[in-house]
Symmetry: C2
Subunit: 110 residues, 2 copies
């Protein structure tokens, strides 16, 4: 089951609590794109998963941790999170991330 | 060899000709993020590759073709291109796409 064309405005934001919300965009077995919206101060707690992830900062400012590396990222900046490496972020200025996973996050559809 | 944190402003745009240019952002073996900038009327000719690709529209307006499907996409809209499926786009209003590939495009680094 693939979603070839997904228009962001057609997908309501799903409240995740803690000042974060998300919309699941196009996906298929091999990849999934997800917008995640953060209020200032909201966190993506450090966690790990077998999926490789990349993130592109659409808006705002975030402090990211990937393994033992830390950096501040802003619009147009990007992060690569290898499979199984612990990662997380703290939102310094309200904004939006685009997270992409390979393979897709089947757990997000449950 | 992985690029965990890549700041967009640190990467010069590489002119690809035909009104398009790109910057390669974070990547590792499993994925690569690439910004592609288009002038109005520029084309990504229909082509195919074994990598699965997703695209997120950052700016502008594009007509995309994926297999036998066609759609107009704008900022916040997304496209999924399965491995081996022919795809291409025409830029209707100057803008920028974020393309993500799995696995990474080793050919882009040559």
């Amino acid at each position: 089951m693939e979603k070839i064309f997904v228009h962001g405005k057609d997908i309501p934001l799903q409240d995740l609590g803690g000042g974060t919300s998300r919309r699941i965009l196009s996906y298929g077995e091999a990849m999934m794109q997800v917008e995640v919206h953060f209020e200032e101060g909201a966190c993506g707690s450090v966690h790990t998963h077998p999926h490789t992830q990349t993130t592109y900062v659409l808006e705002g400012e975030f402090e990211f941790t990937v393994g033992d590396q830390k950096d501040i990222v802003r619009p147009g900046d990007t992060v690569y999170m290898p499979s199984g490496v612990p990662h997380g972020c703290v939102c310094k200025k309200a904004g939006t991330l685009l997270d992409i996973f390979t393979p897709m996050r089947e757990d997000f559809l449950k």
